[in-house]
Symmetry: C2
Subunit: 454 residues, 2 copies
Amino acid sequence: MLKISEIKQHDGETVEIAGFVKQVRDLKKMQFVILRDVTESVQVTIFKGEEYKKLNETVSSLTLESSVKIKGKVHVDSFVKLNGVELLAEQIEIANLADNNLPIDLTDFNESNRDLRLDWRFLDLRSREHQLIFRVQTTAEMAMREFWIDHGFTEIHSPKLMGNPSESGAELFELNYFGGKAYLAQSPQFYKQMAIAAGFEKVFEIGPVFRANKSFTSRHDTEFTSVDCEFAWIDSYEDVMKFEEEWIAYLIKRVKEKHGDEIKEVLGREIVVPKTPFPRVSMDEAKEIIKSLDYEVPPETKGDLDPTAERLLGKYFKEKAGSDFVFVTEFPTSIRPFYHMYKPSDPSKTLSFDLLWNGLEVTTGAQREHRFPVIVKQGIEKGLIPASAMTDSGEVVIENLPTGLKDYLMCFNYGCPPHGGYGFGLTRMLMNLLGYTNVREVTFIYRGVDRLRP
Amino acid sequence: MLKISEIKQHDGETVEIAGFVKQVRDLKKMQFVILRDVTESVQVTIFKGEEYKKLNETVSSLTLESSVKIKGKVHVDSFVKLNGVELLAEQIEIANLADNNLPIDLTDFNESNRDLRLDWRFLDLRSREHQLIFRVQTTAEMAMREFWIDHGFTEIHSPKLMGNPSESGAELFELNYFGGKAYLAQSPQFYKQMAIAAGFEKVFEIGPVFRANKSFTSRHDTEFTSVDCEFAWIDSYEDVMKFEEEWIAYLIKRVKEKHGDEIKEVLGREIVVPKTPFPRVSMDEAKEIIKSLDYEVPPETKGDLDPTAERLLGKYFKEKAGSDFVFVTEFPTSIRPFYHMYKPSDPSKTLSFDLLWNGLEVTTGAQREHRFPVIVKQGIEKGLIPASAMTDSGEVVIENLPTGLKDYLMCFNYGCPPHGGYGFGLTRMLMNLLGYTNVREVTFIYRGVDRLRP
């Protein structure tokens, strides 16, 4: 069986294809069926007449979105509007006849019918646009893994069931676990660091994470695919940024090679492989730039950038440096987690960064704090660890470490090497790459506050 | 920085390595440190004397499992027991000094200390045996994906949060979802079929699944990594077996190429790339064979094979056909799910199979039922769908389909093509490949009834 995209190379030959019925036209002397498979659509032409009676009856019985197998002769002809090729049908076999009443219109995709489309996601996904998204996703993920593995990374699958709430305890899903309680992982952060403590040196994971976030925005979901890596023996968070930019450039290069033409044709979008290194700007410098653009970040962000500031910064570096990407570094300690390493010369800043892509934050990364007394001290300062867990002379009192963090913190008491890493949302990558603005379109089966089906 | 496995190629050069301190010996005229990284161990030699005072002091302060960076001159010397190479230290930098009291003995791995080892899994994983397991896992998974992608598969990430209990409702984890209820996916089965209905044609997924199974055996866990694929336009479940055996042979070939020597050295195990096709035997024939071996499958299995029968069958085909693998086909309808396709000439049998590897079941696969009225009828017969969902003349009454199955079943009402697939447990694969008998050893961070930490 051939893919529809392949038949043009078989002019004059009899081939077999299979797919969904996209359109049927019944004319006086001819019947036409537009058939679509995962690659393309093609016009299938059926002559009318006594000798074609069986074929004609089959075509007449076809409903839209039925799946059929068709055998026929390939006829390359520039007069055929659809790709200049048709199939002259010799045999049509209905594999599964679709119900005549389609619940959604497969030619009409917009905001207003999104909820209904998500109800019928398996039909919604049959469009070429949606199919393309997931083929791009496949290529992008494979490219990420190729790059990691070429650099000596080991793949891990960290547990999603946890005995204790991990980081903040906010936005956490709780479940009944044989009469006790368990929690769903919000990120593989602690476990990828545990892998570093376990001597894996370099690890990656692509897997689900869960956030009990009540937001209904176009960017929020309660379950998404997180892309994470972590590696040991770095000298600075600069090593992490250096790795990430090459990794991103590689995956975009692979996507362009494999799907660039189709993305242009279907989505009208040019894939541009970014030049490395990406520009870097410290948070202090970033705020100066934003100020010079006559915008003031509102105080509610507590030292972070707000979406407007991110957009302005993205635009600024696009114009100044021709880059879609910019690393913002040295985020204030006050808005970063306790496990980020603080800047030795100024502990009000962290050795961390965010990556903006087209003015949208896509990554948070950092060098992690790997020194046992230091991370405990930082946890105490953040109020996550009781003060009793440290003596006045700065020694850790292990028995006073909180249960929920103890397994994690103890990793640093037995020679965990210096390390850093970053995390990336798979859907954010797809939205930026392909120009989508709603996470629901680029998620296979979306999960949100009010959506647990299909 | 070099990997320890690479330094032998740099005889006479000054290089830098990093890793964990495995052993320290302080002799009269010399100090020795055995350093281990993700690849290998090496002897680091330090001369004693006034000019080496600082180095000697550093070595004296070293504790086991501390992480250090060492600069030194490579000296290839066949008199050095460990790999015939040593590093003559010039500079030693302690990155993180380990607590002197290690909670487990890293040279002693056995059954009796397993629970303690799992408590300290990050230390347990530092052994070369454990490191090897996860490098083999990385290679195996990558090989699976290479094979799939070469065959036109698309990667999916199906949701793990579900609004309704899926298959049986047994062994299901339930969670609080914004005041309502959600369930954790026990398998991606329904969603991978939904992807087929969505026109993806061929899909794969490697991701976590959750089973609230109360067993404490060496093979049970509550969370594991499931390896799944599904593809459309098959003619028979034979197509599924044919694909799976080539996929398995490919991944074992890749593991052998990349890790065969090390597996032999560390685990004493020879990796054998299987010949394809694997033998096939129908369940009826299998039972004849087992009978001829003077064993009777106990009636409690209700027509299934028990572990003894599987073992005998494995042994039989190893001797008869020289194969570690055997497909057992046409399982009784009574012990297969309602979505397997039944054999047209004998509906008491299914068009399904199990794969035995060394006499252990590793896969269940099947052609799926894709015809809407037929799958509904089979669901009614299994008691999963009320009889009212079908009229006497065999038409589906959509409004009487049960809520929990409706989204799934409706996929078959709109032209879902014929398809089939299989599922595989990642840890089962590793246990068979590397000769482990307890799933806890081959799982990065194990989850069981009484284990939710670390």
